[in-house]
Symmetry: D2
Subunit: 253 residues, 4 copies
């Protein structure tokens, strides 16, 4: 039995190191993480070329692929045994609201879930100017890992956890939340390179969110850890009533 | 007003060409698609480097990025006007069940939805040995586009459409479905390269699915077009009852 | 017997198309070229991952690699027969002086030479504002190919040919030249991306050259085609006298 | 005044670390090296996208580019001062004969020379089963650096140094050599990936060389360090007599 740890900031990221250190007190850990930053890669899998695993130090494997690749190899390819738990993070920056669809950190937990291994993703909701101390978040992750290993997880479900960037004492508690709603800006920067060719750079724009009670955004901005249970069923069941009246559909008898 | 067309098989793919031809009868079309195949890239955005847009022929733009990048640029960067509709496809092969979390085709429609533009993804459920004729599927896509431009879409919702690889006459109808469930194999191939270094190649394994009534798999395998309404809220609301009893949570009062 | 054609501007480049058309009058041709632009890639070989060959139309193969990869596959991997001649080009822009050490076009001819196949590289010395008509250059390339197939090439030698961007009638003749000397500018542009991270972009700077009689630059700037015979021995023999007096060397007895 | 150190095995390679340690006794050193392995990249420059420099520890910069990019940035972009000397290596494996045209290690020294900075490349000629101890080679590199800073280098010339993989005491001396001649095998491996698509992998083949007195191969295989002075003029002057009689040339008057 071992815990598989990954992230999308790369194997040298301090959030990963802090997480690994804290989880190693729960049992055997193995790190399988991208060899460099792979943020915003979504749930992408490398199918058209092979992958390399370099053991950079004992039980730490750097992969030239995405976080999803790392989890896939960590479950199917690298070891004889399957992990008991996959923990992805600690991400540098929050993964809340619709942003989670882009997140490599969350995708890694998604991949584990698809492969039948319990998982959660954990992110530190850094804001400009706050210190990057991952240790309080790592302690919360360890506590959560312990709980999961006792309780188990609801079927086909994984957790997306976001932690405010404060000391242990300042954390108000953990809240069970739902995925909030982002308001995306529309900044694309257009420019020319040194050779006069035009290029476009997808910008950050002004990112805002709907501050609605019960959401991940709402909890974290009030000093709580947010824990959102996610599943992989994107079906919008609530739209069925309306849509079923459209005349394009055959009867479902 | 124009329709933006993209895909993940690349700008030269026959499914894209057939789709563009059929949709051009509905109004002005613009193609913004990856310069080469980008399947299984998920919802990934290129943030750390700039993108190029090459107009390979009038109103056809090849981008050195992912399908998500294409839609982002097509909405924010390339044109003064926003598209009225985004159609992504026609993908070579089905995008059903959990596979949609990996799909670049589906991610393109997801991106449009996040940016507030109605969208659907369309895939041809090719099987070994069947002919790759995208025209029947393109006609269904055009019919659906017409419907959407009349009805509109439910809030924050987009459609994932899968079409059996048969002639118009053999299609049994369109069904409103939910996302099915994949059963993934676990094949990772381990080998050594010509220089003796080990590598891993994520394999296809044996892909199976749960043949449950009401799902996309079930409909398509019986000759129906499946239309699954998707949204971007991955929250598993049904798990709230069980989870809220866990002792780790603060009261939500 | 066939002629292998490649380039570094990619398989869709007009210079390649013009070259292929003209050479096809001399015998059977096969095109093996990069699937997209790969300029300034030098003599680089893809050793750590596999390559794909897509036959985009009969006898035209697009490779997801460098020009050097294309020639290597075109000689060893793709066909049962070896080519009788490799022609690389027609490059968009000159390859003269020290620039040839960066050039993918020249590197392709270099690779053929290493593999024992006669080769030459051909470039159109475009200047700002001149028309991109590759046909006169293609006719000169065909004439040269004919000559090579009669005369053969000196051992371990290949040709680097640069052609002024003018009509047939305005070309003053062909000159046997030596590699000239570039004077490089030093422009690196420093900037920040939309997320505030610093980046560097290697710029063009002001490129100048020494206008010395007998060099490629000198000939082309006076309306002549330059033909420079190159070999792969970079040893600076003229420095031996001076260096042999240094006291670090053992006697060579 | 500082010494710029780079390589093509990546900033974490033991050969680079050993070199940096030894050269730091001669003066101030700065490392600017690729963030990961970039062997066989030739003299390739990243022109179409920007580069990042991450200071992984004081005065050690990891670049997401080629060795040539590293030297270009190290001379023009990163620092206010130009380096007094560029040393590239210590490469894992020899760079002798025609192989140097592919070598990223040698290309880095080439780039420095083009930019007017004295440079040499140094490689450890590892053979199967020998220990990877870079310290004896690093001591030789330091001794050579000291010599260069006294003597200077012949105009437009740089050194390519190969060192046998033995202890200091077993090194027979340093020889002034010329570039030897490789005999390349022709291995390209053809295979199919897990999805049934064909691929080609450029293989090592059987690499042989001509064991001729005076060459780098000959010296290193007899326990000597080889020092080959290289320049950037690839012109084959010895072919001029023969070629000038060809009837395609205009008179050079």
């Amino acid at each position: 039995m071992f815990i598989l740890i990954t992230n999308d900031d790369g194997i040298h990221a301090p959030g990963l190191v802090a997480l690994a250190q804290e989880l190693s007190e729960l049992g055997r850990i193995v790190v399988v993480a991208p060899d460099r930053e792979r943020s915003a890669t979504g749930h992408s899998l490398t199918l058209h070329s092979p992958l390399r695993a370099e053991e950079v130090r004992p039980h730490w494997f750097a992969i030239d692929g995405t976080p999803t690749d790392c989890v896939n190899l960590g479950i199917h390819g690298l070891f004889r045994e399957r992990p008991a738990l996959v923990v992805s993070g600690i991400n540098r920056g929050a993964n809340m609201g619709d942003d989670i669809t882009y997140s490599g950190t969350v995708a890694a937990a998604m991949e584990a879930t698809l492969m039948g291994v319990p998982a959660f993703a954990v992110s530190l909701a850094l804001t400009h100017g706050c210190s990057e101390d991952y240790r309080p978040a790592a302690r919360i992750a360890a506590r959560l890992a312990r709980t999961l290993m006792t309780h188990g997880l609801p079927t086909d479900t994984f957790f997306n956890v976001n932690i405010p960037p404060v000391d242990d004492a300042q954390i108000q508690g953990i809240r069970l939340t739902r995925q909030g709603k982002r308001i995306y800006g529309d900044l694309v920067i257009e420019n020319t390179d040194p050779r006069g060719r035009k290029y476009y750079w997808i910008g950050a724009g002004d990112l805002d969110f709907k501050d609605v009670d019960g959401t991940d955004f709402h909890a974290v901005h009030r000093g709580y850890v947010s824990l959102t249970p996610l599943h992989l069923d994107l079906t919008n069941y609530r739209s069925f009533d309306e849509l079923s009246r459209w005349d394009i559909f055959s009867s479902q008898s």
